[in-house]
């Protein structure tokens, strides 16, 4: 299940991409799973067809989804096909993580609470260690 918010500053297609990536990361979507047709998802969310199509296209470009005649859109891989070098990619992820943690600190959360949040997310993705 995916949820989007119309009053979020994040564009709708980016929210869709993030939601599908989250489901791929936590194992809800597995390789070979079929995604709903663009029209169905757009109807259910009450958004434009092009928004959904753009999100699917971005995920296809990353090598996560594949679209084929007859089968529609399916999960091709749960690991992104990246054009960046590993060091650059790590740097980008570190920067994104840094921004998220800074957001949490500015929102008034203390170190313990942030650690708990991070741990919860880690457990979601890799299971409880």
């Amino acid at each position: 299940m995916i949820t989007i918010s119309l009053n979020s500053p994040i564009p709708l297609h980016d929210q869709l991409v993030q939601e599908i990536r989250r489901l791929l990361a936590d194992g809800t979507l597995k390789v070979g799973d079929e995604l709903p047709p663009v029209r169905q998802l757009a109807n259910d969310l009450g958004i434009n067809l092009n928004t959904v199509a753009r999100a699917y296209r971005e995920l296809t470009d990353c090598g996560l989804l594949a679209t084929s005649r007859g089968r529609g859109t399916v999960v091709l891989s749960t690991v992104e096909k990246t054009t960046e070098k590993p060091a650059e990619e790590r740097k980008r992820i570190e920067s994104t993580l840094g921004s998220a943690l800074a957001d949490a600190k500015i929102a008034g959360l203390n170190r313990k609470e942030i650690e708990l949040l991070v741990l919860r997310q880690l457990n979601k993705l890799w299971g409880v260690s």
């Binding site: 949820t3 989007i4 119309l6 709903p36 169905q40 109807n43 969310l45 009450g46 529609g72």
Partner: protein, 295 residues
């Protein structure tokens, strides 16, 4: 013509077209009690005026064609005046249905524009089509069987006693029936696909009961469409064609047609009422979930 049954038949044949043409307007007027403060009254008034004018125009066309047919004794015009009942479809689907939708806004699955957080399932509903290959197979086998049985009876019956009209009807029936079945299958296939893609907006917590109601409603809708359009209707036409070839009794066919048509109509109404009740159930649950978002 002295046969009272024929007189009754002629009377009903005469009433058939105007009853059909007036039905959309009568239905809409009987639904007006469902109006409430959220109904756009101006739009409703305009649409009802349009429907009334369209109904009157259709009745006028039918009456003019009928009068000319009676004066000129033209069988083609008589047939045309009988077929004027087909104008029911544009009146119903083009004007009356949008009015009904206006009155029953609660039945629409569309998401309220003010709803900021939207949730959807990632299940591909086209893959949950309840109509399996054996449904299509069963219908095809029965219809093909009826076609071949009619063909066989037609070839083994003494056709020398047939009037040219009977031979003509049999020949075109043999060609028209498979064409009708194929056309019905095509319409049904695309109709079911469209019905499976109908919007099914979820609440923000993805309530399981709501998903179950959507599943049931979708499945019932598709199966009702199949059994009515994809099975009962072509089989009914096939049986009529077979019996009209075998027995050659117009009265029997008239009785069979009237009874079968009425039963099909009743089955269609039952399916429609059932679908509406399921939509109401979904609307009620959604309203309950929206008023208590924690559930």
């Amino acid at each position: 013509m002295n046969d009272p049954a024929i007189l009754v038949l002629r009377f009903f044949q005469f009433l058939f077209v105007p009853i059909f043409l007036c039905a959309p307007l009568v239905m809409v007027l009987s639904l007006l009690t469902w109006r409430n403060e959220t109904t756009d009254r101006e739009l409703l008034k305009t649409k009802i005026r349009t429907l009334s004018l369209a109904t009157l125009s259709c009745l006028a066309v039918w009456l003019i064609v009928l009068i000319i047919a009676l004066v000129t004794r033209s069988s083609l015009l008589q047939l045309l005046s009988t077929m004027a009942w087909l104008l029911f479809f544009p009146l119903w689907f083009g004007i009356a249905m949008p009015i009904a939708r206006l009155l029953f806004a609660v039945l629409q699955p569309a998401i309220p524009l003010e709803q900021q957080k939207r949730t959807a399932s990632l299940v591909n509903r086209q893959r949950k089509n309840p109509i399996q290959w054996w449904h299509w197979g069963l219908s095809t086998v029965v219809c093909t069987g009826l076609l071949f049985a009619t063909l066989w009876i037609g070839r083994h019956i003494d056709q020398s006693t047939w009037t040219p009209q009977q031979s003509f009807l049999w020949f075109w029936g043999m060609l028209g029936y498979p064409a009708l079945v194929i056309f019905t299958y095509a319409v049904l296939y695309f109709g079911v696909r469209a019905s499976l893609a109908e919007p099914e907006p979820l609440d923000s917590h993805g309530n399981v009961e709501l998903q179950k109601l959507y599943d049931d409603a979708r499945s019932n809708r598709a199966l009702s469409m199949f059994w009515l359009l994809g099975f009962l209707q072509p089989v009914f036409f096939g049986v009529c064609l077979f019996l009209s070839t075998w027995i050659q009794s117009n009265n029997l066919i008239a009785i069979l047609g009237a009874t079968g048509g009425t039963l099909l109509g009743l089955a269609g109404s039952w399916a429609g009422v059932n679908a509406t009740l399921q939509r109401l159930k979904i609307a009620r649950l959604k309203m309950r979930l929206e008023s208590s978002p924690g559930q």
